[in-house]
């Protein structure tokens, strides 16, 4: 995945900050836009899945490379 509208650097942040920052960023975005999040908290992998399921935002992709986790969230309508 490479296309996104906004990027959030949540590296070095621990639970629940990556989720809270993502939520805040999504608040300022339009439905259908994509937010890329970079995190280093291993717990964020499960948490972003759970966040997407419960909020109606779609987790389009989740991947790991060199200890960093990349998430692509599509804002729900």
């Amino acid at each position: 995945m490479s296309d996104f509208n906004q990027e959030l650097d949540a590296r070095g942040l621990n639970c629940p900050l990556p989720i809270l920052r993502a939520k805040k960023t999504l608040n300022g975005m339009n439905a259908g836009e994509i937010l890329k999040i970079i995190a280093t908290d291993p717990g964020s992998v499960k948490d972003f899945e759970a966040f997407a399921t419960q909020t109606g935002n779609q987790l389009m992709d989740s991947s790991e490379a060199n200890g960093e986790f990349h998430f692509f969230l599509k804002k729900g309508g």
Binding site: L13, N14, P16, L20, K23, T40, F51, Q54
Partner: protein
């Protein structure tokens, strides 16, 4: 998606126990929950403008200590004057270095997300807590006020 709701009764006023109520409330709010927090007894410390929370190793065998101190340090040693201040300082440094939010930061995130905070009026009277020492964003109330929210809430926690 219908709105869910959470209430939490926060009863503890130490640095370590300040985390569960604020982490859960801020996260629930981010997930779209309607959140109410009720602060009673020592939990009222979490509503002070000036958050000056400590953690005590005393009577807390589950608390990890740096350099394996808990392995050889006698239990009575945790009662030495200055021990609490030292452990609190160490804990605050660890919190910072691990990218964990401060209690004040989590509380602000809760307030920004419209988490409703209620201070227990009875506790305020009991401990002569000054209103001006507490943050302005709170309401005061009693047990009945709590149940007004809890009675129709999906999740109710006592911490």
């Amino acid at each position: 998606m219908s709105e869910k709701s959470l209430t939490i009764i926060a009863t503890k006023g130490t640095l370590d126990w300040a985390y569960p109520p604020f982490i859960l409330s801020s996260t629930a709010a981010a997930l779209g929950y309607n959140v109410t927090m009720f602060f009673t007894f020592y939990g009222l410390q979490l509503l002070k403008k000036d958050l000056n929370l400590s953690v005590s190793p005393l009577g807390n065998p589950g608390m990890p200590m740096p350099m394996g101190m808990d392995k050889w340090f006698p239990v009575l040693g945790t009662a030495i004057p200055g021990m609490q201040a030292m452990m609190t300082g160490m804990m605050k440094n660890t919190i910072k270095s691990k990218g964990v939010a401060s209690v004040a930061e989590l509380r602000n995130l809760c307030l920004e997300a419209d988490v409703k905070m209620i201070g227990c009026q009875m506790t305020i009277d009991l401990f002569d807590i000054k209103h001006e020492d507490l943050i302005d964003e709170i309401d005061l109330g009693g047990a009945a006020t709590y149940f007004e929210n809890a009675g129709q809430s999906d999740i109710n926690l006592f911490i």
